[in-house]
Protein backbone atom coordinates (compact mmCIF):
# COMPACT_ATOMS: atom_id res chain seq x y z
CA UNK A 1 0.00 0.00 0.00
CA UNK A 2 1.18 3.49 -0.89
CA UNK A 3 2.35 5.54 2.07
CA UNK A 4 1.54 9.17 1.50
CA UNK A 5 3.89 11.91 2.55
CA UNK A 6 1.21 14.21 3.90
CA UNK A 7 0.98 13.45 7.57
CA UNK A 8 -2.36 13.44 9.32
CA UNK A 9 -2.33 15.22 12.64
CA UNK A 10 -5.98 15.79 13.49
CA UNK A 11 -9.44 14.28 13.30
CA UNK A 12 -10.33 16.41 10.24
CA UNK A 13 -7.45 14.81 8.38
CA UNK A 14 -8.71 11.37 9.39
CA UNK A 15 -12.20 12.21 8.08
CA UNK A 16 -10.62 13.24 4.76
CA UNK A 17 -8.81 9.91 4.69
CA UNK A 18 -12.10 8.06 5.26
CA UNK A 19 -13.65 10.05 2.40
CA UNK A 20 -11.03 8.55 0.10
CA UNK A 21 -12.05 4.96 0.88
CA UNK A 22 -14.55 3.69 -1.72
CA UNK A 23 -17.43 1.35 -0.97
CA UNK A 24 -16.31 -2.11 -2.17
CA UNK A 25 -19.58 -2.78 -4.01
CA UNK A 26 -20.25 0.70 -5.40
CA UNK A 27 -16.81 2.25 -5.91
CA UNK A 28 -18.14 5.64 -7.11
CA UNK A 29 -19.17 6.56 -3.60
CA UNK A 30 -17.14 6.52 -0.42
CA UNK A 31 -17.84 4.95 2.92
CA UNK A 32 -18.47 8.43 4.37
CA UNK A 33 -20.93 9.22 1.53
CA UNK A 34 -22.89 6.18 2.71
CA UNK A 35 -22.82 7.24 6.35
CA UNK A 36 -21.03 4.08 7.46
CA UNK A 37 -18.37 5.94 9.47
CA UNK A 38 -20.04 7.31 12.58
CA UNK A 39 -17.27 8.69 14.82
CA UNK A 40 -13.49 9.03 14.82
CA UNK A 41 -11.43 9.56 17.96
CA UNK A 42 -7.73 10.33 17.96
CA UNK A 43 -5.36 10.14 20.94
CA UNK A 44 -1.71 10.29 20.03
CA UNK A 45 -1.32 7.55 17.48
CA UNK A 46 -4.38 5.63 18.66
CA UNK A 47 -7.39 5.97 16.42
CA UNK A 48 -10.81 4.54 17.18
CA UNK A 49 -13.21 4.47 14.24
CA UNK A 50 -16.84 3.51 14.83
CA UNK A 51 -18.67 2.09 11.85
CA UNK A 52 -22.26 0.95 11.46
CA UNK A 53 -23.42 -1.86 9.18
CA UNK A 54 -25.81 -1.02 6.36
CA UNK A 55 -27.73 -4.32 6.31
CA UNK A 56 -27.11 -6.86 9.11
CA UNK A 57 -25.70 -9.43 6.74
CA UNK A 58 -23.83 -7.10 4.38
CA UNK A 59 -20.67 -9.02 3.42
CA UNK A 60 -18.90 -5.77 2.51
CA UNK A 61 -18.64 -4.72 6.16
CA UNK A 62 -15.67 -6.96 6.97
CA UNK A 63 -13.88 -5.64 3.91
CA UNK A 64 -14.65 -2.02 4.81
CA UNK A 65 -13.30 -2.53 8.35
CA UNK A 66 -10.16 -4.09 6.87
CA UNK A 67 -9.69 -1.21 4.39
CA UNK A 68 -9.94 1.37 7.18
CA UNK A 69 -7.46 -0.61 9.27
CA UNK A 70 -4.96 -0.90 6.40
CA UNK A 71 -5.17 2.81 5.53
CA UNK A 72 -4.53 3.78 9.16
CA UNK A 73 -1.74 1.24 9.67
CA UNK A 74 0.05 2.45 6.55
CA UNK A 75 0.10 5.93 8.06
CA UNK A 76 1.56 4.75 11.34
CA UNK A 77 -1.60 4.77 13.44
CA UNK A 78 -2.79 2.06 15.84
CA UNK A 79 -6.37 1.54 14.74
CA UNK A 80 -9.31 0.05 16.61
CA UNK A 81 -12.47 -0.47 14.58
CA UNK A 82 -15.69 -0.61 16.57
CA UNK A 83 -19.14 -1.56 15.33
CA UNK A 84 -22.09 0.47 16.57
CA UNK A 85 -25.69 -0.59 15.93
CA UNK A 86 -27.64 2.38 17.21
CA UNK A 87 -28.94 4.57 15.68
CA UNK A 88 -29.71 2.07 12.92
CA UNK A 89 -28.27 2.96 9.52
CA UNK A 90 -30.62 4.71 7.12
CA UNK A 91 -30.29 5.77 3.48
CA UNK A 92 -31.32 9.24 4.63
CA UNK A 93 -27.65 9.65 5.63
CA UNK A 94 -26.54 9.45 1.98
CA UNK A 95 -25.72 12.97 0.85
CA UNK A 96 -27.44 14.60 -2.19
CA UNK A 97 -24.05 14.74 -3.96
CA UNK A 98 -23.54 11.01 -3.42
CA UNK A 99 -27.05 10.34 -4.74
CA UNK A 100 -26.12 12.13 -7.95
CA UNK A 101 -23.00 9.99 -8.23
CA UNK A 102 -25.12 6.86 -7.80
CA UNK A 103 -27.51 8.00 -10.53
CA UNK A 104 -24.64 8.76 -12.91
CA UNK A 105 -23.26 5.27 -12.19
CA UNK A 106 -26.59 3.71 -13.26
CA UNK A 107 -28.11 3.04 -9.84
CA UNK A 108 -31.33 4.91 -9.05
CA UNK A 109 -30.72 6.61 -5.68
CA UNK A 110 -32.96 6.06 -2.65
CA UNK A 111 -35.74 8.52 -1.89
CA UNK A 112 -35.90 10.08 1.57
CA UNK A 113 -37.82 8.01 4.11
CA UNK A 114 -40.20 10.97 4.55
CA UNK A 115 -41.18 10.87 0.84
CA UNK A 116 -43.99 8.36 0.49
CA UNK A 117 -44.53 6.67 -2.89
CA UNK A 118 -41.65 8.52 -4.50
CA UNK A 119 -41.36 7.93 -8.26
CA UNK A 120 -38.38 5.78 -9.28
CA UNK A 121 -36.73 7.37 -12.30
CA UNK A 122 -34.67 5.43 -14.81
CA UNK A 123 -31.03 6.47 -14.29
CA UNK A 124 -30.36 6.03 -18.02
CA UNK A 125 -33.18 7.95 -19.74
CA UNK A 126 -34.76 9.73 -16.76
CA UNK A 127 -38.18 8.28 -17.53
CA UNK A 128 -40.68 7.88 -14.69
CA UNK A 129 -42.33 5.03 -16.55
CA UNK A 130 -40.62 2.26 -14.56
CA UNK A 131 -41.70 -0.90 -12.78
CA UNK A 132 -40.25 -3.15 -10.13
CA UNK A 133 -39.13 -6.64 -11.14
CA UNK A 134 -38.03 -7.79 -7.70
CA UNK A 135 -37.63 -6.36 -4.19
CA UNK A 136 -34.20 -7.94 -4.13
CA UNK A 137 -31.43 -7.12 -6.58
CA UNK A 138 -27.74 -7.82 -6.92
CA UNK A 139 -27.06 -6.89 -3.27
CA UNK A 140 -29.25 -6.69 -0.16
CA UNK A 141 -29.51 -2.90 -0.44
CA UNK A 142 -30.87 -2.86 -3.99
CA UNK A 143 -34.11 -3.75 -5.79
CA UNK A 144 -34.36 -4.68 -9.45
CA UNK A 145 -36.31 -2.36 -11.77
CA UNK A 146 -37.14 -2.11 -15.44
CA UNK A 147 -37.64 1.01 -17.54
CA UNK A 148 -40.67 0.76 -19.81
CA UNK A 149 -39.34 3.45 -22.14
CA UNK A 150 -35.71 2.59 -22.83
CA UNK A 151 -36.37 -1.06 -21.84
CA UNK A 152 -33.19 -1.30 -19.75
CA UNK A 153 -33.11 -2.99 -16.37
CA UNK A 154 -31.52 -1.12 -13.51
CA UNK A 155 -30.91 -1.30 -9.77
CA UNK A 156 -32.66 0.91 -7.23
CA UNK A 157 -30.82 1.64 -4.00
CA UNK A 158 -33.75 0.93 -1.67
CA UNK A 159 -34.93 3.54 0.81
CA UNK A 160 -34.03 1.95 4.14
Amino acid sequence: MEILNDTITDVDGLWKLMESIPDPEIPVISITDLGIVRTIELQGKNVEVSITPTYSGCPAMDMIAMQIKMELLSRGFSPVIKTVLSPAWTTDWISPAAKEKLNAYGIAPPSLSTEKNAVVKCPLCNSSHTEMISHFGSTACKALYRCNDCKECFDLFKCH
Binding site: C58, L85, I133
Partner: protein, 247 residues
Protein backbone atom coordinates in the same frame (compact mmCIF):
# COMPACT_ATOMS: atom_id res chain seq x y z
CA UNK B 1 -30.01 -4.56 31.97
CA UNK B 2 -28.82 -7.70 30.25
CA UNK B 3 -31.06 -10.51 28.99
CA UNK B 4 -30.13 -14.07 30.05
CA UNK B 5 -27.78 -15.95 27.74
CA UNK B 6 -30.38 -18.65 27.05
CA UNK B 7 -32.81 -16.12 25.65
CA UNK B 8 -30.25 -14.48 23.37
CA UNK B 9 -29.15 -17.91 22.12
CA UNK B 10 -32.78 -18.81 21.48
CA UNK B 11 -33.19 -15.70 19.30
CA UNK B 12 -29.90 -16.35 17.49
CA UNK B 13 -30.60 -20.06 16.94
CA UNK B 14 -33.99 -19.31 15.36
CA UNK B 15 -32.21 -17.23 12.76
CA UNK B 16 -29.21 -19.47 12.16
CA UNK B 17 -31.31 -22.58 11.59
CA UNK B 18 -33.74 -20.81 9.26
CA UNK B 19 -30.79 -19.34 7.33
CA UNK B 20 -29.23 -22.78 6.97
CA UNK B 21 -32.49 -24.18 5.61
CA UNK B 22 -33.02 -21.30 3.18
CA UNK B 23 -29.43 -21.46 2.02
CA UNK B 24 -30.24 -24.81 0.40
CA UNK B 25 -32.22 -22.85 -2.20
CA UNK B 26 -29.13 -21.02 -3.43
CA UNK B 27 -28.91 -21.89 -7.12
CA UNK B 28 -32.20 -23.83 -7.01
CA UNK B 29 -34.86 -21.08 -6.80
CA UNK B 30 -37.79 -21.35 -9.23
CA UNK B 31 -36.57 -18.33 -11.21
CA UNK B 32 -33.44 -16.20 -10.92
CA UNK B 33 -35.11 -13.20 -9.22
CA UNK B 34 -36.66 -15.42 -6.55
CA UNK B 35 -33.43 -17.33 -6.04
CA UNK B 36 -31.79 -13.96 -5.36
CA UNK B 37 -34.69 -12.88 -3.16
CA UNK B 38 -34.57 -15.85 -0.81
CA UNK B 39 -30.79 -15.79 -0.57
CA UNK B 40 -30.86 -12.04 0.17
CA UNK B 41 -33.39 -12.67 2.91
CA UNK B 42 -31.13 -15.43 4.19
CA UNK B 43 -28.21 -13.02 4.32
CA UNK B 44 -30.26 -10.65 6.49
CA UNK B 45 -31.40 -13.49 8.75
CA UNK B 46 -27.83 -14.75 9.12
CA UNK B 47 -26.53 -11.22 9.75
CA UNK B 48 -29.04 -10.83 12.55
CA UNK B 49 -27.94 -14.18 13.98
CA UNK B 50 -24.32 -12.99 13.95
CA UNK B 51 -25.13 -9.82 15.91
CA UNK B 52 -26.94 -11.95 18.50
CA UNK B 53 -24.19 -14.60 18.72
CA UNK B 54 -21.52 -11.90 19.10
CA UNK B 55 -23.48 -10.50 22.04
CA UNK B 56 -24.00 -13.99 23.49
CA UNK B 57 -20.27 -14.70 23.19
CA UNK B 58 -19.39 -11.49 25.06
CA UNK B 59 -21.79 -12.39 27.88
CA UNK B 60 -20.53 -15.95 27.98
CA UNK B 61 -16.90 -14.85 28.22
CA UNK B 62 -17.60 -12.24 30.87
CA UNK B 63 -19.25 -14.92 33.00
CA UNK B 64 -16.43 -17.45 32.66
CA UNK B 65 -13.60 -14.93 32.72
CA UNK B 66 -11.83 -16.30 29.65
CA UNK B 67 -12.13 -15.64 25.97
CA UNK B 68 -12.93 -19.02 24.53
CA UNK B 69 -16.44 -18.45 23.20
CA UNK B 70 -16.95 -16.76 19.82
CA UNK B 71 -19.88 -16.39 17.45
CA UNK B 72 -18.35 -19.29 15.53
CA UNK B 73 -18.01 -21.70 18.45
CA UNK B 74 -21.66 -21.00 19.33
CA UNK B 75 -22.78 -21.86 15.81
CA UNK B 76 -20.40 -24.69 15.00
CA UNK B 77 -19.60 -26.46 18.24
CA UNK B 78 -22.80 -26.78 20.21
CA UNK B 79 -24.72 -30.03 20.26
CA UNK B 80 -28.24 -30.58 19.03
CA UNK B 81 -29.81 -30.45 22.50
CA UNK B 82 -28.05 -27.16 23.22
CA UNK B 83 -29.86 -25.43 20.35
CA UNK B 84 -32.94 -23.51 21.49
CA UNK B 85 -34.60 -22.68 18.19
CA UNK B 86 -38.31 -23.22 17.58
CA UNK B 87 -39.25 -26.46 15.81
CA UNK B 88 -40.82 -24.49 12.95
CA UNK B 89 -37.53 -23.21 11.54
CA UNK B 90 -35.79 -26.61 11.49
CA UNK B 91 -38.60 -28.18 9.46
CA UNK B 92 -37.36 -29.31 6.03
CA UNK B 93 -37.93 -26.99 3.08
CA UNK B 94 -40.24 -29.32 1.15
CA UNK B 95 -41.47 -27.54 -1.95
CA UNK B 96 -41.46 -23.80 -2.65
CA UNK B 97 -44.91 -23.42 -1.02
CA UNK B 98 -43.67 -24.91 2.25
CA UNK B 99 -40.52 -22.79 2.16
CA UNK B 100 -42.29 -19.48 1.61
CA UNK B 101 -45.03 -20.34 4.13
CA UNK B 102 -42.42 -21.16 6.77
CA UNK B 103 -40.68 -17.86 6.02
CA UNK B 104 -43.95 -15.97 6.26
CA UNK B 105 -45.14 -17.56 9.54
CA UNK B 106 -41.74 -16.92 11.12
CA UNK B 107 -41.16 -13.41 9.72
CA UNK B 108 -44.60 -12.29 10.78
CA UNK B 109 -43.84 -13.57 14.30
CA UNK B 110 -40.37 -12.03 14.30
CA UNK B 111 -41.85 -8.71 13.22
CA UNK B 112 -44.19 -8.40 16.22
CA UNK B 113 -41.61 -9.86 18.62
CA UNK B 114 -38.86 -7.46 17.53
CA UNK B 115 -41.31 -4.56 17.69
CA UNK B 116 -41.57 -5.34 21.41
CA UNK B 117 -37.86 -5.99 21.84
CA UNK B 118 -37.15 -2.56 20.29
CA UNK B 119 -38.38 -1.10 23.58
CA UNK B 120 -36.65 -3.60 25.85
CA UNK B 121 -34.37 -2.68 28.76
CA UNK B 122 -31.45 -4.51 27.22
CA UNK B 123 -30.01 -1.73 25.07
CA UNK B 124 -27.97 -4.02 22.86
CA UNK B 125 -31.01 -6.21 22.08
CA UNK B 126 -33.11 -3.08 21.48
CA UNK B 127 -30.52 -1.80 18.96
CA UNK B 128 -30.40 -5.17 17.17
CA UNK B 129 -34.21 -5.28 17.10
CA UNK B 130 -34.56 -1.78 15.62
CA UNK B 131 -31.99 -2.57 12.95
CA UNK B 132 -33.50 -5.99 12.14
CA UNK B 133 -37.07 -4.68 11.92
CA UNK B 134 -36.24 -2.68 8.80
CA UNK B 135 -35.15 -5.91 7.14
CA UNK B 136 -37.97 -8.04 8.55
CA UNK B 137 -40.59 -5.70 7.01
CA UNK B 138 -39.22 -6.68 3.58
CA UNK B 139 -39.29 -10.37 4.51
CA UNK B 140 -42.93 -10.17 5.61
CA UNK B 141 -43.89 -8.34 2.42
CA UNK B 142 -42.12 -10.78 0.11
CA UNK B 143 -43.26 -13.97 1.83
CA UNK B 144 -46.88 -12.85 2.31
CA UNK B 145 -47.07 -11.98 -1.40
CA UNK B 146 -46.04 -15.56 -2.16
CA UNK B 147 -48.68 -16.98 0.19
CA UNK B 148 -51.27 -14.90 -1.71
CA UNK B 149 -49.93 -15.83 -5.13
CA UNK B 150 -49.92 -19.57 -4.42
CA UNK B 151 -53.04 -19.72 -2.24
CA UNK B 152 -55.15 -17.74 -4.69
CA UNK B 153 -53.38 -19.10 -7.77
CA UNK B 154 -54.06 -22.32 -9.65
CA UNK B 155 -55.65 -25.49 -8.28
CA UNK B 156 -52.16 -27.02 -8.06
CA UNK B 157 -50.59 -24.07 -6.22
CA UNK B 158 -53.59 -23.87 -3.87
CA UNK B 159 -53.22 -27.58 -3.04
CA UNK B 160 -49.52 -27.17 -2.40
CA UNK B 161 -50.10 -24.24 -0.05
CA UNK B 162 -52.83 -26.19 1.76
CA UNK B 163 -50.45 -29.13 2.19
CA UNK B 164 -47.79 -26.74 3.48
CA UNK B 165 -50.22 -25.39 6.09
CA UNK B 166 -51.07 -28.95 7.14
CA UNK B 167 -47.37 -29.75 7.59
CA UNK B 168 -46.33 -26.58 9.40
CA UNK B 169 -49.25 -25.39 11.47
CA UNK B 170 -48.62 -27.78 14.39
CA UNK B 171 -45.25 -26.04 14.93
CA UNK B 172 -46.64 -22.51 15.19
CA UNK B 173 -47.98 -22.83 18.74
CA UNK B 174 -44.49 -23.17 20.17
CA UNK B 175 -43.56 -19.62 19.18
CA UNK B 176 -46.12 -18.37 21.70
CA UNK B 177 -45.44 -20.91 24.46
CA UNK B 178 -42.85 -19.26 26.68
CA UNK B 179 -39.78 -21.14 27.89
CA UNK B 180 -38.60 -20.49 31.44
CA UNK B 181 -35.97 -18.00 30.23
CA UNK B 182 -38.46 -16.12 28.06
CA UNK B 183 -40.06 -13.41 30.16
CA UNK B 184 -39.21 -10.31 28.15
CA UNK B 185 -41.99 -10.14 25.62
CA UNK B 186 -45.71 -10.49 26.06
CA UNK B 187 -46.22 -13.58 23.90
CA UNK B 188 -49.99 -13.57 24.42
CA UNK B 189 -50.22 -10.08 22.95
CA UNK B 190 -47.85 -11.02 20.14
CA UNK B 191 -49.93 -14.09 19.36
CA UNK B 192 -53.09 -11.99 19.01
CA UNK B 193 -51.38 -9.62 16.57
CA UNK B 194 -49.80 -12.52 14.68
CA UNK B 195 -53.09 -14.41 14.41
CA UNK B 196 -54.87 -11.31 13.13
CA UNK B 197 -52.21 -10.66 10.46
CA UNK B 198 -52.09 -14.33 9.37
CA UNK B 199 -55.92 -14.47 9.23
CA UNK B 200 -56.04 -11.48 6.89
CA UNK B 201 -53.42 -12.93 4.54
CA UNK B 202 -54.98 -16.41 4.58
CA UNK B 203 -58.46 -15.04 3.89
CA UNK B 204 -57.24 -13.05 0.91
CA UNK B 205 -55.33 -16.13 -0.25
CA UNK B 206 -58.50 -18.28 0.05
CA UNK B 207 -56.77 -20.48 2.64
CA UNK B 208 -58.25 -21.83 5.86
CA UNK B 209 -56.59 -21.66 9.27
CA UNK B 210 -56.60 -25.15 10.82
CA UNK B 211 -58.62 -25.45 13.99
CA UNK B 212 -57.91 -27.38 17.16
CA UNK B 213 -54.63 -28.78 15.97
CA UNK B 214 -52.28 -30.33 18.51
CA UNK B 215 -49.23 -28.11 18.90
CA UNK B 216 -45.74 -29.58 19.11
CA UNK B 217 -43.29 -27.96 21.53
CA UNK B 218 -39.78 -28.71 22.76
CA UNK B 219 -37.29 -26.85 20.56
CA UNK B 220 -36.89 -23.93 22.94
CA UNK B 221 -35.71 -26.41 25.59
CA UNK B 222 -33.45 -28.40 23.31
CA UNK B 223 -35.90 -31.19 22.48
CA UNK B 224 -35.92 -31.20 18.70
CA UNK B 225 -37.40 -33.11 15.78
CA UNK B 226 -35.22 -35.70 14.07
CA UNK B 227 -34.49 -33.10 11.36
CA UNK B 228 -32.16 -30.87 13.39
CA UNK B 229 -29.43 -33.46 13.83
CA UNK B 230 -29.10 -33.91 10.07
CA UNK B 231 -29.10 -30.16 9.52
CA UNK B 232 -26.31 -29.65 12.07
CA UNK B 233 -24.30 -32.48 10.52
CA UNK B 234 -24.17 -30.41 7.34
CA UNK B 235 -23.75 -27.05 9.07
CA UNK B 236 -20.98 -28.17 11.44
CA UNK B 237 -19.21 -30.72 9.25
CA UNK B 238 -16.13 -28.67 8.47
CA UNK B 239 -15.35 -27.51 12.02
CA UNK B 240 -16.02 -30.98 13.41
CA UNK B 241 -13.82 -32.72 10.84
CA UNK B 242 -11.03 -30.14 10.70
CA UNK B 243 -11.10 -28.41 14.11
CA UNK B 244 -10.17 -24.71 13.96
CA UNK B 245 -10.02 -24.69 10.17
CA UNK B 246 -10.03 -21.14 8.82
CA UNK B 247 -10.15 -19.62 5.37
Amino acid sequence: MQFPLSYILHLADNNLILAQRNGDWCGHGPILEQDIAITNITLDVLGQARMLYQYAAEISNSMSGNNIVTEDTLAYLRKENEFKNCLLVEHPNGDWAQTVLKQYLFSQFQFFLYEELSNSNDERIAAIAVKSLKEISYHVKWSSEWVLRLGDGTAESHDRMTNAIDSLWMYTGEMFTPASYETFADLTKIMEKWMQAVKEIFEEATLAIPENMFMQVGGKNGVHTEHLGFLLTDLQYLQRTYPNAEW
